[in-house]
Amino acid sequence: MRPILTLVLKDVSIELRRKESVAAMVMFSVLVMVIFNFAIESARLDPALRQDLAPGILWVAVSLAGILGLNRSLAIDLDNDSLQGLLLAPLSRGSLYLAKVLSNFIFILVADAVALVSVIVFYDLDPNLGLLWVAVIVVLGTFGFATVGTILAMVSSQTRMSEVMLPVLLIPLTIPLIISSVAATATALGAEGARPNLNLIVGFDIIFLVLSYLVFDYVVEE
């Protein structure tokens, strides 16, 4: 566990100095919210319908900002080939993967928090128990997004058009996760006291975490 924490602290420490990945994700998620807000304002939608659109817009912001962050996530390790230094350490490749998932998860969560606040403000959502459920759904959904995104970011970093390749690979794979997260968010924001179904999201998280952990060795080797 200690090497994983060491790796995560290294990523956080470097991100605090570079301020690249998280700042870009936060800016991007706010921009997505603002653009959707203008588009919906111009359509003069009924307030209730506006609130119905909020879950989808939240997850558009979360996933697009997440892709942006994941595309940058390996930059610090590819600069000066530092990833090779990590691969030479006496750790399992799986530990390297778990550490990178945790780092990405933390960074994307920061952008998620801003996106969640933005969606509450722009779509006049009442702060109630449903929003606590939304926070849980965002945490679980983002974790699943980070598990798949981390390994695909590693795969795409070895291709010529890595920044294009990541969304091309990631979006189709995460469609079940995004659809489930949007549905669960809509349930949480709907009727008072409604309990969203998290089974598919949790299942996705576990399956892709285990699969990616097992195959990461083959992704990073020459």
Binding site: R2, P3, T6, L7, K10, S13, I14, R17, R18, I76, D79, N80, D81, S82, Q84, G85, L86, L87, L88, A89, P90, L91, S92, E221, E222
Partner: protein, 236 residues
Amino acid sequence: MTYALSARKVRKTYGHFPALAGVDLDIAPGTSVTLFGRNGAGKTTFLKIAATLARASSGEVAVAGFDVGSEPEKVRRAIGFLSHNTYVYRDLTSRENLRFFSRLYGLDLSDDELVSRLERVGLGHRLNDPVRSFSRGLLQRVGIARVMLHDPQVLLLDEPYTGLDAHAVGILNDMLDEAVGLGSTVVLTTHDLELGLRAAGAAHIIDRGRIVYSGPAGAPETRAAYLRFVQMGGQP
């Protein structure tokens, strides 16, 4: 006898290109060995396989008695690998880099110990500067400090002299001599005949993915073989 490095019929292909075409090599512990070869001869590929950074297409490689395929973490704990890329983080200072890598190796080195390691490579005055501001030679010195952190049994050095000035070459040579004196094994690749033969007990020449010459480093035949295979490209 447990060899520091033992290779049997090691082959590696990239697509249809055979980078290694059947390498057999035994290196005794506590010795210093140099691998010579032209660009693309297979030296780096061989060292990367020994360092668990690449997987052989076929054959067996053991380092410090551990099989690189089935016991990679034990191999990685036993080796130090340095190439012309230093693998350090440019956004961290030299001290932070050493602290980070020492923790990855499970070492509890005190701050004084880290400083002393950096002073050893002549970086005592740049402890708190991000290595992004370092010249190529200074970066390589951080890399040297990193690779020596855990006192590895086997040092795999791929063109370690790249970018080093005469002073830094002297520091590296002193550290390698000391490591061999303490029982470590040094396997290095270089194009520089004199640096390669300086402290080596044996020299091997790789050409087109095979060991084409093995002999004592000081023997006149070694220089002749170097001239033939490395400088003249293996032409008779």
